[in-house]
Amino acid sequence: MNNQQDLPLKKDIAARFVPKVVALMVYLGTLCFVFTLFMIHSTKLWEGQLSTQLTLEIPTTHGHPSADLQSRVLHLLNRTPGIQSATAVPQKEIASLLHSLLGEKVDETLLSLPIIIDISLNNNEIVDIPSLETHLKNISSDIQLTDHRSWQAHVSDVIHMSVLIALVVTALVLFVALATTTFATRTSLLIHRQVIEVLSLIGATPSYIAKQFQMNALKQGLFSSTIGSLFAFLTFMGVGVLLEKIGLPFSIDSTFFSQALCVFVLAPFLTALLMMLSARFAVLITLRS
């Protein structure tokens, strides 16, 4: 004597295709959203690490450049308004960088390593780059100043753009899931119009009838989006393991992992809730018109 289902909704054609569509959409949507989170997270990390905005290079022509040259340059830099700090990169670091690029066998003492100075800027002040360059040229004409800010800004733009695209795709996917629910509900209303007519004639309010549809959508939504989300989680873990094996420098740290986990856990509930609401509104709008 199960009484809660006055409408035979479980036998609808819609009952067969809606869960599949929703599961797929939740799969794509959660992955897309987690990707967005990943991009935002990585960008933040990356931006945090990028304190160097300018680099200065003093090439050596014969043997090691003089320590005097280095100290004069540093002196100039530290007096320049807008520069927060300027530090020479230790020769060992440059050498290890060279080793990683050219192999261990290279004897760096045979190469003439340049002096590299990392410069961090004070974000509140503007550095007069042309005048700085002129001053540097006065010290030595070989000194090269490289500004990294333009390509950093460029990369940031690309990242922000891809975050935006991922968000739009997530929203689209959610929209498809809800549109499917609305469409299925409307079809169902048509299929069951005789039952609905009888229900209304014996005094059922639109809200009572809507409840039948919304409970159905809620159950359907919970079930199918849990499956979609579970598969998305497995894919996420799989991709993580794969990237680690390839040796790509993607770090899934605990903050990002817990954020992603939240998405995978919450997505089914949120989707089911939204599906329930869209079913309810579809019924109410149809019955009241």
Binding site: M1, N3, P8, V198, S200, G203, P206, L287
Partner: protein
């Protein structure tokens, strides 16, 4: 509060492209009254009942039901008026996918009555109309007369203020017809106004209730049909 359960004023109806089935119909249904609705087949008995249970909007005229004007009410509030009615449809309109006990307790469920209480009442009523053995059957497994009794049980289970029954004894033998009429009379004694559309001459002969007689698209109220005939 109005004395009348229902008032029809200068009501007329015409189905799309059909001829007028009602013209200038005016009558009142008092609280606790009992009427037969008569007229030849196709004269509009079902249509009149449909107008009264708000399943059909009349083309002309006004209705008041329980003092309210359903034609000017928001669609969302109509169910609340319908909850004060009980209807036995000519074609029963039982829900095929629900068991008989679920069909009969449905009006209570729709009104928010607790399931257990609904089943208890439905069971008592089904026992009374002789369907105690069919509680768990589906309508498709029932005969015409059994379905009709289930439909009657569903209509009276809420003890409505107005009961509209369309040929409620059309599919049962005379003995059962009289028993069902007795059920309507009992309900009427408790205050329900009753309108029964019927062809059954025996029902009319045995029961001295006034008639609403449809003739030439209008309705004559015959206070006591024995006198009128």
């Amino acid at each position: 509060m109005s004395e009348y359960i229902a008032q029809l004023v200068d009501l007329g109806h015409q189905y799309d492209e059909g001829s007028e089935i009602f013209k200038g119909v005016t009558f009142n249904i008092e609280k606790g009254s009992f009427h037969f609705l008569t007229g030849p087949s196709g004269s509009g008995k079902s249509s009149l009942l449909r107008i009264l249970y708000l399943g059909l909007k009349p083309t002309w005229g006004n209705i008041r039901l329980f003092g309210e004007d359903p034609l000017r009410m928001k669609p969302a509030t109509l169910p609340l008026l319908r909850q004060r009615l009980g209807v036995v449809f000519q074609e029963f309109k039982l829900l095929d996918h629900l068991k008989i006990i679920d069909n009969v307790s449905l009006p209570l469920r729709v009104r928010g009555v607790e399931a257990k209480r609904g089943y208890k009442q439905a069971q008592e009523l089904l026992d009374w109309v002789g369907l105690g053995d069919c509680l768990m059957s589906y309508p498709s497994a029932l005969s015409g007369g059994q379905k009709q009794r289930a439909a009657i049980a569903r209509a009276v289970i809420t003890r409505p203020q107005l009961l509209l029954a369309d040929e409620p004894t059309g599919n049962v033998d005379d003995e059962l017809a009289m028993k069902l009429l007795h059920l309507f009379e009992e309900l009427n004694k408790m205050g329900t106004a009753v309108i029964i559309a019927t062809h059954n001459p025996r029902l009319l002969e045995r029961s001295p209730y006034p008639q609403l007689q449809i003739k030439e698209a209008t309705i004559n109220v015959i206070p006591n049909h024995r006198i009128g005939e």
